[in-house]
Structures are given as structure tokens and as C-alpha cells.
């Protein structure tokens, strides 16, 4: 099994999902000391690559937009992947005459250290961008986890509604900065009030803070399904029997279980020898 990147986003190729990618990069920058100017370069280049998938990877339809982010000392690698229209024999060349073509690729080339184009296994396009980012600290290494999240992790996402997001992330340091940002964006998308948007962030904070001991393997995977005024979070893979404990662990004496109080409900399911904790968040205040 291939090694998992520090962050893997699995999204639909919808225009609004590019914001999730951008916020993920901002969160990563925050936690590893990426310089603001470098972050602008990375965000701009990655946005171009994502927009390309949004607009052109699936002519007349939709499909997955996958983004991997990997951090190592002094560099950042971002892969933007789709399973749609391939770039055929052109990779890794570049259009000779950008004036006749577009400016997306030249922008990526101008802002990244290296860029490679490849065909996604099974069809589609993969744009791999490396950025030289001198200020960036390395992260503790992460390993692939058998039986947990991994290749083919996209399976089952189709069963969700049209608006979902999945993030697979390690280590906790990154999750702490990235997951609350993602939930803020998704809560806003679910038409939550600012009260509940903030609550979603508080819930993300609690989840990340208490989950590390309960995760089966290295990476936490969070799948969020977005419906109007309704977010459903699936957190896994959890060590069997630890899901309820996670809710209790989030208890701060004197205040009770933070997760339980912020969420409108929770449940536990078991599959493939691990547990998944499901949390629902609603915004009831404005149902008028």
C-alpha cells in the first residue's frame, strides 16, 4: 500500500470546493511556518490546477477532485488529481504558444519549483507541483496503515449527497489547523448562523484534540456530508470500542462532554474491524 500524504482531500469537482483546498493550504502554512509570500504562490498555483479540474476534467458531468499535500523540511508538494479527461500524450510537455492556449499552466510553472503532469492510474490527470519553501519545518513521518484509510478511500463517497468533503490527515499538528477551517467553510455552506459556524470550529477543535489516542493508525479521516442546516461528520478509523470513549474524553470537568454539547447527536458504527463515530450538527435557531 502506498504511503499516505499528510493531507488528502477528496471532493467533488464543484467550484465552491476550491475554497476548501485553499483553506487547507492556509492551515498547513500556519502549522509548519510557511512564509506568507510563499503561501500566496502555492495557493495561486494550486487554485489554477483545481479550477482546471472544476471546469474541464468532466465535460458535461461531475467527478472527483483529489488534492494531496505533503510537507517535508524546506519543501511542499501538492498533487491535484482527477479521474476525468486525460491529458494524453502531451505530458510532461507544455503548450508552445500559451497565447493561443491558456495561462493556467504557465502560471503554475511560474510559481512552482517543478511541475509534472501524469495520467492518473485508471484514467484522468495528475498535476504534481513542488514548491521550494525554505522556512518550512518537517513533520513527524507518517506511515500507511493496513486496513484503515488508504488507497481506494474514495469508495463510498458517491453514496453521499452532492455536497461532501473528505479529509484524511496526519499528524495532529496539521489536523489542528486544517480541520476547524474546513468545518467553518462547510458550516457556512450549510447555511449555519455565525453562532453555529463557530460551534462547528469548537467541535473540530475538540475532535482533533481528543481523537489522536483513539485513531486506528496514523491518519484521521473525516467525511462531512453537507445538507441545508445540517452537517453530518464521520470520524474514523477508530480503534474498536473507542468511539464512545472519544465523546466522553472530550469532557472537561465542570462543563461536561464538549462534543456532546456542541453536536445535536452522535452514533457509533463498526465495519472492517474499526469504529466510526458519527456526529450531527444542526442549526435549529433560524428555522422560521
Amino acid at each position: 500500500m502506498a504511503r499516505l500524504p499528510n493531507v488528502r482531500l477528496e471532493l467533488g469537482n464543484r467550484p465552491e470546493n476550491v475554497l476548501l483546498v485553499r483553506e487547507t493550504l492556509t492551515g498547513v502554512a500556519e502549522s509548519v511556518g510557511l512564509d506568507g509570500g510563499d503561501l500566496s504562490d502555492v495557493r495561486t498555483a494550486v487554485t489554477e490546477a483545481c479550477n482546471n479540474v472544476v471546469l474541464h476534467a468532466y465535460p458535461g458531468g461531475g467527478g472527483p477532485l483529489e488534492v494531496d499535500v505533503d510537507v517535508s523540511p524546506g519543501s511542499l508538494t501538492v498533487v491535484v488529481r482527477d479521474h476525468g479527461v486525460g491529458i494524453g500524450a502531451r505530458a510532461p510537455g507544455r503548450p508552445d504558444d500559451v497565447a493561443e492556449g491558456g495561462i493556467g499552466l504557465p502560471v503554475i510553472e511560474a510559481l512552482s519549483h517543478t511541475v509534472e503532469f501524469a495520467e492518473t492510474p485508471g484514467g484522468g490527470t495528475e498535476v504534481r507541483m513542488a514548491f521550494a519553501t525554505p522556512g518550512v519545518r518537517g513533520l513527524e513521518s507518517t506511515a500507511a496503515i493496513p486496513g484503515g484509510t488508504g488507497e481506494g478511500g474514495g469508495a463510498g463517497l458517491e453514496a453521499l449527497g452532492p455536497s461532501f468533503a473528505s479529509v484524511t490527515i496526519a499528524p495532529v499538528l496539521l489536523a489542528r489547523a486544517v480541520v476547524p477551517r474546513l468545518l467553518c467553510v462547510l458550516a457556512a455552506r450549510a447555511h449555519f448562523s455565525t453562532d453555529r459556524i463557530s460551534d462547528s470550529q469548537l467541535l473540530a477543535d475538540a475532535l482533533v484534540a481528543h481523537a489522536s489516542g483513539a485513531i486506528a493508525g496514523s491518519h484521521m479521516r473525516l467525511i462531512v456530508n453537507v445538507e441545508p442546516r445540517d452537517l453530518e461528520l464521520q470520524v474514523g478509523p477508530l480503534i474498536t470500542g473507542r468511539a464512545e470513549g472519544l465523546v466522553l474524553d472530550s469532557g472537561l470537568e465542570g462543563l461536561g462532554s464538549v462534543l456532546e454539547k456542541l453536536a445535536d447527536g452522535h452514533g457509533v458504527s463498526s465495519a472492517d474491524s474499526h469504529d466510526t463515530l458519527t456526529l450531527t450538527l444542526r442549526d435549529r435557531a433560524q428555522t422560521a
Binding site: 509570500g37 502531451r90 508552445d96 504558444d97 495561462i103 511560474a110 455565525t194 453562532d195
Partner: protein, 277 residues
């Protein structure tokens, strides 16, 4: 099968079309341009240079707009980008290299990037961002006072004539700002608190903390009284952040920030206690 070139071409057209309905594709570097380049570079014909500048300005504008959806004023960036374009016009060697555009793009971007870094943008929160965040905060409060509940990001966007994305950015950014400008109760906050407090209910006497015992008090006691009170209102009384904001006389954004901070602090203290003794 669609080639990369086609895909990116459509991409440019589509994104230009969304942002500026009038302009279409990028200008081609055709024979006509080659002739203009010859007139400018060999004969120093200013009219030719001017024509080239006009021809490639959409490219400069497009790049200015693309660079990190900048919070710098767009017009300033266009200026910087056009400076990059001028330099590229002067340096371009038409006899070598592929097209002018592929030569110009990194040059123009280079100018924009330099401008960002030189203006200290990477070190400070841009003023525009901060002002926007404060506007979002005030609009949140005004809306809550008028409607009795907090607005959604869409409602704020509509109210402030911003994009939803900008509102979300502001909501995220506001937490990073130092308390300086946010912490102080603003004039009028107290009167608002009273009107709002009425709809909330006035029974704020005593709520027992759950399972209060000696060790607990030790941890919770290390949180400043106001933060402790806010935690209690949210997690024991079950008030919304907007209700708490009205009672305490700060903005909901500030309540959000204080809650995040003190929950973090509580977790760290609890962890220390468990690890320590």
C-alpha cells in the same frame, strides 16, 4: 480526448468570462504582433509599443486578478502587473523563444510577487482584510440585534455586498487578530445588551457547575473569571454565542475567540494535571 492546451484555453475563457463578461480570450501573438515587436525593438516606434501594451493588458489584468485573490486593491496590482508587462515588452527577443505571452507571464507574475513581498504583505495582515473583518463583526451584531438571531454567512455577504468566500475568510481571520481592537466593548454595547437580554431571559443568577469538586475547581479556576463565565453560559446554560455576546457586551466573534482560547487552555490544564500528578 481533450488536450491540456484545449482545457486550459477553455479555462481561461471561462474564468475571464466569469470575472469580466466583456473580455474574451487572450490576444494571439500573431504575425501582426511580430511586426509590432519589430517596429518597437528595431525602430523604437513608440506607437507600436503602445499598441502592444494595449494588446497584452488583458493578460496583465488577468494575472493581477489571479494572484492569490489578492486583498490588495485591484487597481494597484494592475499597475504593478502592467509595469511587469512593460519590462517584458522591452526585454522580449522576438527572434528566439516561443511566444511573447509565455515570456511575459513569469515576468509579470515576478513583478506582482515582488510587490507583495516588498510591501510587507507576508508579515502583516493586509489592512483591507482587517477592515473587512471588522465590518463583518459589526454587521453580525447589527443583524442579530434586528432579527434576534445570528445571520448566516450568506446573509452577511448580501448585507455587506461581499462574496461569501470573503465573509468566510473574515470569520476565520478575525480569530487571529489580537484582542486589541476586538476586546473592548464598543459604545452602545450595553444598551444593546439590555434590549437583547430581554429576549434572552433574565435568570442569570446561579447555575451549578456539573459535578463540582476540588480538583475541578482547581483547573477551572485558572481560567480568568470572564472566560469562565462565558464557558458556563455556553456549556451549562446552553446559550447561543449571540446571546452570550449580548449579555457580556462584546461581539459574537469575540465570544467565539474567547471560547476557543479557553477551551484550549482547559484542555492543556487538564492534560497537565493528568500527566503531572
Amino acid at each position: 480526448m481533450c488536450s491540456t492546451e484545449q482545457r486550459t484555453e477553455e479555462m481561461v475563457i471561462a474564468s475571464v468570462a466569469t470575472a469580466k463578461p466583456k473580455s474574451r480570450a487572450l490576444p494571439p501573438t500573431n504575425d501582426d504582433s511580430a511586426e509590432l515587436f519589430a517596429r518597437w525593438q528595431e525602430e523604437r516606434d513608440d506607437a507600436a509599443r503602445e499598441q502592444l501594451l494595449q494588446r497584452f493588458m488583458p493578460l496583465a489584468r488577468s494575472l493581477a486578478r489571479r494572484y492569490d485573490r489578492s486583498s490588495e486593491p485591484y487597481e494597484d496590482l494592475v499597475q504593478v502587473a502592467s509595469l511587469g508587462l512593460l519590462k517584458a515588452l522591452d526585454r522580449f527577443d522576438a527572434s528566439r523563444g516561443p511566444s511573447f505571452a509565455s515570456f511575459a507571464i513569469p515576468n509579470i507574475l515576478g513583478e506582482v510577487r515582488r510587490y507583495f513581498r516588498d510591501s510587507g504583505w507576508s508579515l502583516h495582515v493586509p489592512r483591507g482584510d482587517k477592515e473587512r473583518a471588522l465590518k463583518v463583526r459589526d454587521a453580525q451584531e447589527a443583524f442579530a440585534n434586528e432579527h434576534g438571531h445570528a445571520p448566516t454567512a450568506n446573509q452577511l455577504a448580501q448585507y455587506l455586498e461581499l462574496e461569501v468566500e470573503q465573509v468566510i475568510d473574515a470569520l476565520l481571520a478575525i480569530q487571529a487578530y489580537e484582542s486589541l481592537s476586538l476586546d473592548a466593548p464598543r459604545p452602545g454595547a450595553e444598551e444593546e445588551a439590555i434590549t437583547y437580554g430581554d429576549s434572552v431571559g433574565k435568570e442569570d443568577e446561579r447555575y451549578e457547575l456539573i459535578e463540582l469538586d476540588a480538583t475541578v475547581v482547581a483547573v477551572l479556576d485558572q481560567i480568568p473569571p470572564r472566560e469562565r463565565e462565558i464557558l458556563r453560559m455556553r456549556f451549562v446554560e446552553g446559550l447561543t454565542q449571540t446571546q452570550i455576546a449580548a449579555r457580556v457586551g462584546v461581539s459574537q466573534m469575540q465570544v467565539s475567540r474567547l471560547l476557543r482560547g479557553s477551551l484550549d487552555q482547559l484542555r492543556a490544564l487538564t492534560q497537565d494535571r493528568e500527566a503531572g500528578h
